[in-house]
């Protein structure tokens, strides 16, 4: 579904990612993990067109999308739930969701809205509330719901568990898995490595802008190098 090869993006003179190759097969959950500053968010923003990569190819559904404007990429069926959620704080929950379906002109928008409300009942309860007044977990649900309103073929999630209480985190992961099972392909950037690897089919490990390891999720999970990166030292395998 998504094939990336040799992707490089810089900020000024600093190269944030340096020639990444990555594949996301249809129907899968692919996880991209790595430490802070490794270039995960840069990768995501490059994919959706918020950043303009200097080199490489991004093929989405067989089409080259590098350099396209973000709204065109959304139109092709790729949506990003950004890091920090970025919900529209001054607009109501309902308006947030409506804006998710901004590009759609079909008649099933209302049905999809109902579906989002079924998935996250709390959003329906608070649909007239301003987005900024929701708690962190609810905001994350809203951000995911909003992205789903575009009916993406590929959903990108950038650190959906960031700053959330453990219970909420596991809820969010459950939802991600459900969304995938309903047919949406997912590329997930996570710090919560264990959870991410648990639901993912494939995983890539990013270090200082380069892919240093990739493979099936359970294999990557067993790789000592990953544990070392996250808990440090050989003592990590408790």
């Amino acid at each position: 579904m998504l094939n990336i090869s040799g992707l490089s993006t810089s900020y000024g003179s600093i190269k944030a990612i340096k020639g990444i190759d990555l594949d996301v097969p249809q129907g899968s959950i692919v996880s991209l993990i790595g430490a802070n500053g490794a270039g995960k968010t840069t990768t995501m923003n490059s994919l959706v067109g918020l950043l303009k990569p200097q080199a490489g190819q991004i093929k989405f559904l067989g089409q080259e999308i590098r350099g396209l404007a973000p709204h065109k990429i959304v139109n092709l069926g790729m949506s990003l739930v950004p890091e920090g959620r970025k919900i529209l704080a001054g607009m109501t929950v309902l308006e947030n969701l409506e804006m998710g379906a901004y590009q759609r002109k079909d008649k099933e928008v209302q049905a999809d809205l109902a579906k989002v409300f079924r998935r996250f009942p709390i959003l329906e309860e608070r649909k007239q509330q301003l987005g900024g007044t929701l708690s962190g977990g609810q905001q994350q649900m809203l951000a995911i719901g909003r992205a789903l309103m575009a009916r993406p073929k590929l959903l990108l999630l950038d650190e959906p568990s960031m700053g959330l209480a453990p219970l909420v985190v596991s809820d969010i992961f459950k939802v991600i898995q459900e969304i995938n099972q309903e047919g949406t392909t997912i590329l997930l950037v996570e710090q919560n490595v264990r959870q991410a690897l648990k639901i993912a089919h494939y995983a890539y490990v990013l270090e200082t802008g380069k892919i240093v390891l990739h493979g099936k999720a359970e294999e990557v999970a067993k790789n000592p190098r990953v544990m070392e990166a996250y808990l440090g030292g050989a003592k990590a395998d408790t």
């Binding site: 918020l50 404007a69 709204h71 139109n75 949506s79 529209l88 308006e95 409506e98 804006m99 909003r146």
Partner: protein
């Protein structure tokens, strides 16, 4: 006299509000102050005048025409003076300076094209008719100004809160990046916003030109500065603020003249700017965070 002065203040204030709405829309979406807005206002007045005087159209048709022409001017402004600046990361002062440049250019272009003399709408274009309500005398022009200003403001509010494109403008105002992520073509929305703001400036120009029956190239500067004062008074990017702020400034000015010293009238507007910025930089109706419109 009090009630009569209040009506005077409201009429004056409603034109300030219309001008300030243009500022606030652009401020809300692009986070810049369009210093050329006053000149767009002047341009709109001239277009309206031209339509009435030379093409002999109805005054309301002329208003519509002025709105369209000003919107086109706004589009040029966005494409030539604002968009090129967004491509590179420049300080937030660059658009300020760029639009100051546009304002100087437009004012002098108008002097060249229309000449420095002030020109008038023909007699009969709404002038003359008056209503007497108890102690208050209201002219038809005043009623038209009040009606159109308030009408436009409420239509704008409704449009922004209920329509798809209106919501897209609000989304872009919250965050251009998020709007991009949601599939909104933000360049188009920005273009639309600048055009809309300019159209409001244009019709305000016709209304003011009509009420004072004089249109001339330098009329943009003082009105522009007043609009700016309202923008700050009401809170940048805040529509309610622009509407109420305009009325407050209009009434404050009129009452300064009526019960104080008329020579300090201009100091009122700028005194308000300074005071508000010191005491409550977010403006009377602005919030520190959260939604804009």
């Amino acid at each position: 006299m009090f009630w009569q002065q209040l009506v005077n203040g409201l009429t004056l204030g409603s034109t300030y509000s219309l001008v300030a709405l243009g500022y606030t829309l652009i401020m809300g979406v692009l986070n810049i102050i369009n210093m050329a807005h006053g000149e767009v206002f002047m341009f709109g007045a001239f277009v309206g005048l031209f339509l009435v005087n030379y093409l002999k159209v109805n005054i309301f048709v002329a208003m519509a025409g002025a709105m369209v022409a000003s919107a086109l001017l706004g589009i040029l402004l966005e494409m030539l003076a604002l968009r090129p600046l967004r491509r590179r990361a420049v300080s937030d002062l660059a658009p300020l300076i760029s639009t100051i440049g546009v304002s100087i250019f437009l004012e002098n272009l108008a002097l060249k094209i229309f000449g420095p003399q002030s020109q008038a709408f023909p007699a009969g274009a709404l002038s003359g008719v008056q209503l007497q309500l108890g102690p208050i005398r209201i002219t038809l022009v005043q009623i038209v100004i009040l009606g159109i200003s308030f009408g436009l403001m409420f239509v704008l509010r409704f449009w922004l809160s209920k329509t798809r494109v209106g919501k897209a403008i609000r989304t872009t105002a919250e965050s251009i990046e998020t709007a991009n992520l949601l599939g909104i073509n933000t360049n188009k929305i920005i273009l639309l916003t600048v055009a809309l703001a300019s159209a409001l400036g244009g019709i305000a120009g016709v209304l003011v030109g009509l009420s004072i029956n004089a249109v001339e190239p330098t009329m943009g500067l003082s009105m522009g500065l007043k609009g700016l004062a309202v923008l700050i008074l009401g809170g940048m990017g805040n529509i309610t603020g622009a509407m109420l702020g305009g009325l407050i400034l209009g009434i404050a000015e009129v009452f300064t003249v009526a019960y104080g010293a008329s020579s300090y009238r201009d100091a009122v507007a700028f005194g308000i700017i300074i005071l508000i910025l010191f005491i409550r930089p977010q403006g009377l109706f602005g919030k520190r965070q959260g939604g804009r419109f």
